[in-house]
Amino acid sequence: MNRVLRTSLVASACLAFVAGLAFVIREISATATPVDLPARLAENLGRSGVENPVTAVLLNFRSYDTLLEIGVLVIAGIAGISVARTSSLEDPELRTSDELLYALQRWLIPLMLLLAGYLLWAGSDRPGGAFQAGAVLAASGILMRLGGIPMDFLRPGLMLRLGLSLGFAVFLLVAVASALHGGEFLAYPPELAKTLIVVIETVLTLSIAMVLLALFVSAPVNDAEEPEEGGSG
């Protein structure tokens, strides 16, 4: 009975949400868009410093949003690390001696690093960019970690802090520098736009990969070994 009640409650809440969404979509589509955004983007693409419209929006026209996103990611990474029991990093038990994984790694890791670099570079004129490259970089890091390669830079210390905050710090530095230089906050000088975007994307890639990797590595590793949890399980 209780279960039926709960299910119907959740179902009605979902239905109400869907109805609200449908109403909002109808409202939005009823009012004509005030400006033709794709056309405006195409007009101004030349000034952005990159050829890919998505990258132009993310890192030039709406870079404030991206800056805040990176801030959120860094905070998430710090929160994840701070709840971790980091002693597990040195756990020799972790180093699997899986020969298949090791053999696979020797083929995959260089390819994945190459792919990450390509995605980062491709972001300027075709789909790609910092987030994708960072995710691929983090994934190769996870593979290396699973294969038992020691990654000392992930231990809490200067390297970890530097890596986590590098992207956000450089992004903020560019923003403040452009503001001090007489422009708006985060408005790059047009002749430097391409260089600045590439630099920001590169450090962002490193930071994003570091955050994602740190979140994975700082997850508690072997609960079953704990006496109070799964001693018999």
Binding site: L119, A135, G230, S232
Partner: protein
Amino acid sequence: MAEWLLDIVLVIALLVTAGSVLWSRDLFRAVVFFIAFGLLMALAWVRLHAPDVALAEAAIGAGLTGVLLLDAARHLSNRKSGRKNRGGGQS
């Protein structure tokens, strides 16, 4: 016509995998379905002409989140089996 068919199959597969994630009893199975859902979602983004989002979805949504969820599911199952063996487990 073929594209319509592809889209319809994609939508059905998305709904089925999403439902399987929600209604599966086994956490591990739910996570596997979630990864499959993420990959199908990446395909859907490609069909919507949003390759950037598709790349991010495949790398982060299916890949990294899948790894994190698999890790979490294993911990939860360890914890649950430990509790069950002591006779206190409900689920």
